[in-house]
């Protein structure tokens, strides 16, 4: 094949192609060469290709109809990408383009058989046919899938880069034709920030395929737009308009980004979407070779492609006449011009695989390979509908036109409003653009200064001719389908749409809505004006799921020791946003390290809040259930927080570091909620209290050093602190220098049940201290342990975890915290409810449990049952204890079963039941706490 192809014309004044750049590509395995600037279809049409796809339902051959983005019959697969709009997508070198929806080939498509049974595939076919018997649906499905339209995704496809962007233009103009450019220009000149969005690859709209004067006007406008600093987005489409002018724009074809969703907050939206040429309904109107006048003009003028050899043109307007002129200039023999303005008409298009002739209204036949229709327009009022407008049908102009029923922040300009010469459209756009800037606050004209609206010129009302044909080219809905739906009672626009699926295909009504309504009006004896249109909803154009998803943002949090964990084989545990080491290979061994020697665990995610001010004790007394007035400097205390309803919300220890300075720790998962809780309390309930709360969770790397040799290990690295049991007893806090790092805190607490120190070191030195501990503790057998080992250790010790061993109904007394709750305090959050709860007693009580068969670990959340099926409790935590060599649990049982020694029945997930004994303490190990206090 040659680059110019058999149908390539000599240079055209407005052509977009670069004849010096040849782009080889393949179409269904055949080599072709197109030109830079070609679309896929223009390149193939230049080589004489006429059939591009098989239709959705009947698998009828389809070709170019509109030569624009919405061209319904030219959806193809490009490399790995399905559903590419071939009349819009620019050709690129090396593209592998293949047909969709035809099997085994475009020429011999098995699905064509659907045409033979077409009369059974009418409206509602699926609803009526595949309902019963239900058990056969999988069989139906597998067969139907073979004939389904759409391309194929490879499992190996590289995920494209899709993203989003936020924008805040003062004025956004949807549509870059003469009116849109005029509006953008005027708004920018008034000082507004303007975004101009054009669906095609370049600005200009219909000026692009005009004559010398139009092209001169176009180049003048383009230069002015560029000079005015307008942000121009081409190959982009305004997909939706939402409340407060929240406007979504889909941007395509960027160098590094496959598709981008621009979320624009716009002060004034100008809709300058122009007009879309409407097909005519007649027999054979979907044959390849039947084209709209604008398609002809695009092919000839933009791509220098001769669309056929011998043409018949049905024209009802100047655009059709211009198409005739273009065809003649392109050397196409115009066999007949049928002028609808004089009442002339065509009967049907002839041909099977493509058009071979036309039967005129008088019965005569004209041979041709191209039938062009220019019979009227659809007004793409979609964005105006989304702003609340319900356009009215103007019978004289034979199209819907917008009303003034719009918010002040949405304006319409140009062809969507009415007709005019290019200069009149530009002038109207300029007037609207200036008003848009004025409404956005840029000193320009007030609302009254909107230009006079353009009027609609008279146009013959042509919708369906003398025969039946395709109404919806995307969904294969014919005018007969609409008539039959109406006969079945689906007699409103909305009903007929849902029943027949007309207007529901990829072109979303842009080509078919008005014809659907017109045929329905004909069937019901009403008028288009009476029926109105269906509601246009976002998106205006198809959007990929990739664009909606954008980049996947999943914030994560790492401790300063993360690099060490990764290097030492830590199994990651996702805990909220935190990524934590679950274990380093053998959690049971990690438990033994702690019980027998010394282990260190990274507990950086523990919430840490700096509390300062003279009223901190009052705050602590308010938020914790226990007493805080007498906490001395250097001491720490365990506390439990309840919500107003007495339900346990968090726990942790708080230490007093100085007279007016405290450090509160919270659970890892509760850190943010507790901070909000404290701020909420301080800002709304007790604004007079002098307390400042500053989250310091990640300011400190936190390490728990646990085990009988923890004191010995810490002493090797600590300066300035006496770690002896007498000088630094249990539940105390000290500040000092660890491994050469100043400003560290260490507190003696014991979640694991062992002698342990929790140290908090400035986070940037966390890794240094961690490594120093392991290095200096080598001879002591020091090793790291993970979250799993810590969970086992604390379970052995009977320490509860809030939100694991409590839930959204667990009040403080239920969780066995009786000794902690000080109802004699004046007040605290949850007190009223807890007083009540104390009087009533708890239905359930948290207890330690040991299965009689110590080799069985009942999974967490197992029910404890009585009799056949009565639930009397549940397991909240369970593990095999490496220390005891048996399974241990925490769980809730009915208060009457909570006595030590009670035997309860646990139902396992497989239905089996085991016995478990209620223990005297929550702690399975060292209930007296001797190991902690050495």
């Amino acid at each position: 094949m040659t680059a110019t192809g058999g149908f390539r014309l000599p240079a055209q004044p407005g052509e977009l192609i670069d004849r010096s750049r040849l782009l080889p590509f393949t179409w269904n395995g055949q080599r072709h060469v197109g030109l830079a600037g070609d679309t896929i279809t223009s390149a193939l049409a230049a080589d004489g290709v006429r059939v591009f796809s098989r239709s959705f339902k009947y698998h009828r051959p389809r070709g170019i109809l509109t030569a624009s983005y919405i061209d319904p019959g030219v959806t193809v697969q490009v490399d790995d990408e399905p559903n590419v709009r071939a009349s819009h997508r620019r050709l690129a070198a090396g593209m592998t383009v293949t047909r969709q929806n035809a099997w085994p080939s475009l020429r011999y498509d098995v699905g064509t058989a659907n045409q033979l049974v077409g009369r059974f595939l009418t409206a509602g076919f699926y609803y009526k046919t595949f309902i019963k018997p239900q058990r056969l649906w999988p069989a139906y499905e597998s067969v139907l899938q073979r004939f389904a339209s759409g391309g194929r995704l490879s499992g190996d496809s590289v995920h494209g880069y899709y993203d989003k962007r936020y924008a805040h233009p003062d004025v956004l103009v949807a549509g870059g034709g003469p009116a849109g450019m005029g509006a953008a220009l005027a708004a920018a000149q008034a000082g507004a920030r303007v975004m101009l969005v054009e669906e095609e690859h370049e600005l200009g709209g219909s000026l692009r395929w005009g004559g010398v004067e139009e092209l001169a006007l176009l180049s003048e406008l383009r230069a002015a737009v560029a000079a005015a600093g307008v942000e121009v987005l081409v190959d982009s489409v305004v997909a939706g308009r939402y409340d407060d002018n929240w406007v979504s724009v889909l941007q395509r074809g960027l160098p590094e980004v496959q598709e981008r969703l621009v979320k624009a907050r716009v002060k004034t939206l100008v809709v300058a979407a122009g007009l879309i040429e409407r097909p005519f309904v007649f027999s054979g109107n979907d044959l390849p070779g039947v084209m709209l006048g604008t398609a002809v003009r695009r092919l000839v003028n933009l791509y220098a492609v001769r669309p056929g050899t011998r043409a018949v043109v049905l024209s009802a307007n100047p655009e059709g006449d211009a198409a005739v002129a273009d065809l003649r200039r392109a050397g196409v023999e115009v066999a007949a011009v049928v002028d609808a303005r004089r009442g002339e008409d065509i009967h049907r298009a002839l041909g099977k695989r493509e058009v071979t002739g036309v039967e005129l209204a008088d019965g005569s036949r004209v041979d041709c390979d191209l039938l062009v229709t220019s019979i009227g327009w659809t007004t793409p009022t979609s964005l105006l509908n989304m702003a609340g407008d319900r356009p009215r049908f103007d019978a004289a102009a034979a199209r819907f036109r917008p009303t003034d029923d719009l918010p002040a922040s949405v304006l319409a300009a140009g062809g969507i409003v009415g007709d005019g010469t290019p200069e009149e459209l530009v002038a109207h756009g300029r007037g609207v653009g200036a008003a848009a800037a004025g409404r956005a606050g840029f000193g320009g004209p007030s609302l009254a200064d909107l230009p006079p609206p353009l009027t609609g010129r008279p146009h013959p009302g042509l919708f369906r001719g003398r025969t039946h044909g395709m109404v919806d080219f995307s969904e294969d809905v014919s005018s007969k389908d609409i008539l039959s739906a109406a006969r079945e009672g689906y007699d409103s626009a909305e009903l007929v749409k849902r029943y027949t699926t007309a207007t529901m295909g990829p072109s979303q009504g842009k080509l078919e809505t008005v014809n659907t309504i017109a045929v329905l009006a004909e069937a019901t004896g009403s008028t288009i004006a009476e029926l109105g249109t269906t509601v246009w909803r976002p998106p205006y154009a198809p959007i990929t799921l990739g664009a909606l998803a954008g980049r996947i943002f999943q914030p994560v949090r790492y401790s300063p020791m993360q690099a060490w964990h990764e290097a030492h084989g830590a199994q990651p545990l996702v805990a909220g946003m935190w990524i934590r080491p679950d274990h380093y290979g053998d959690p049971a061994a990690e438990v033994r390290t702690v019980r027998e020697r010394v282990g260190i665990i990274d507990v950086t995610p523990l919430g840490k809040l700096d509390l300062r001010g003279p009223d901190v004790p009052r705050l602590l007394n308010a938020v914790y259930v226990n007493k805080w007035s007498k906490l001395e400097v250097g001491s720490v205390r365990y506390g439990v927080m309840c919500a107003e309803d007495g339900v346990v919300m968090d726990d942790g220890v708080t230490g007093r570091l100085g007279p007016d300075r405290y450090l509160m720790s919270t659970t890892s998962s509760g850190a943010a909620a507790v901070w909000e809780h404290l701020e909420g309390w301080l800002q709304t309930e007790r604004p007079e209290w002098q307390v400042h709360v500053t989250p310091l969770t990640t300011s400190y790397a936190s390490i728990n050093i646990a085990g009988p040799r923890s004191r010995e290990l810490l002493a090797r690295l600590t300066e300035g602190v006496d770690l002896s049991a007498e000088a630094f007893p249990y539940m105390r806090v000290r500040a000092g220098r660890i491994a050469g790092v100043d400003d560290c805190f260490m507190w003696r607490i014991g979640f694991t049940g062992e002698l342990s120190y929790e140290i908090h070191v400035p986070a940037s030195f966390g890794l240094h201290v961690w490594e120093a501990l392991l290095d200096r503790g080598r001879d002591l057998g020091a090793a790291a342990f993970g979250v799993e080992a810590q969970r086992i250790l604390r379970l052995e010790k009977g320490h509860l975890i809030v939100a694991q061993d409590t839930d959204g109904l667990t009040k403080a007394f239920d969780a066995g915290l009786d000794a902690l709750v000080k109802l004699d305090k004046d007040d605290f959050i949850g007190r009223r409810e807890l007083v009540w709860s104390h009087e009533r007693g708890s239905a359930y009580t948290l207890v330690g449990l040991q299965p009689v068969d110590g080799s069985v670990v009942p999974p967490e959340a197992c029910q404890i049952v009585r009799g056949a099926n009565t639930i009397v409790g549940r397991i909240t935590s369970s593990r095999m204890s490496p220390t005891l060599g048996r399974s241990v649990c925490l769980g809730y049982v009915l208060a009457e079963l909570a006595g030590p020694g009670s035997l309860v029945t646990v139902q396992l997930p497989d239905g089996a039941r085991i016995q478990a004994t209620v223990m005297p303490h929550l702690a399975h190990i060292d209930p007296e706490g001797r190991r902690l206090r050495v």
């Binding site: 993203d163 590094e256 949090r557 935190w578 310091l696 969770t697 050469g740 940037s764 240094h768």
Partner: protein, 209 residues
């Protein structure tokens, strides 16, 4: 204890080559790309809280949402109502804390907390910094709404982030900071967002050049 003393590490992995600067392990890269992202976590960061109309507010002289520089070259960020973040040279935190504490007149309830180790701080500079940030942040970054010297807190790639516009020699530049633990995430997100604009990681320098 090592003989050389401990070195501080930022939450953001420093791109090679690395060096030690003011006790911190930092990247010694030097990028001349039109869009650059550099870790500034070693800078001292001190949070001051007091009455929005008190003595400290007067001394600092920076309202909520704005920035200024004091006579020591410290960047004062009005990060919240009655809340200021002071950003200074690496290692200067204790001096800044001392000065800020001295600003309080004793009557007013003021607290000063060193957040140097608790925050990740990075700087993105270049003409396309605005476009890059607008891919991950919904705030209007135009001169009209957020001119040089603006500070705000917003969601950046779904992370609570403080953004400070701090142009350098008239060139668009932002300091972006978040909780330390998410520093690497935010750094990676900004590098990803800036890819189409040719972003490059840059090394640590103080003062800025």
């Amino acid at each position: 204890m090592s003989e050389t003393g401990p070195v501080a590490r930022s939450p953001i992995r420093p791109p090679a080559p690395v060096q030690v600067h003011s006790g911190w392990v930092v990247s010694a890269l030097r990028s001349h790309a039109p869009l650059r992202l550099g870790d500034r976590s070693p800078l001292a960061k001190v949070l001051v809280r007091g009455a929005a109309d008190g003595t400290v507010a007067d001394r600092l002289g920076v309202p909520f949402g704005r920035t200024g520089r004091d006579e020591h070259g410290t960047l004062v960020v009005g990060s919240g109502p009655g809340e200021w973040l002071l950003v200074a040279a690496p290692g200067a935190a204790s001096d800044v804390v001392a000065r800020a504490s001295a600003d309080a007149d004793g009557e007013e309830f003021v607290s000063v907390v060193d957040l140097t180790h608790g925050r990740a701080l990075m700087r993105i500079s270049g003409v396309a910094a605005e476009q890059t940030l607008n891919k991950v942040c919904a705030i209007d970054l135009s001169d009209r709404v957020t001119p040089d010297g603006t500070a705000f807190r917003s969601s950046v790639a779904r992370l609570a982030t403080d953004v400070v516009r701090d142009d350098l020699d008239g060139q668009r530049s932002y300091l972006v900071h978040c909780e330390r633990s998410s520093g690497q995430y935010l750094f990676d997100v900004l590098l990803d967002a800036g890819r189409e604009f040719g972003i490059e990681p840059d090394g640590f320098r103080y003062p800025e050049e």
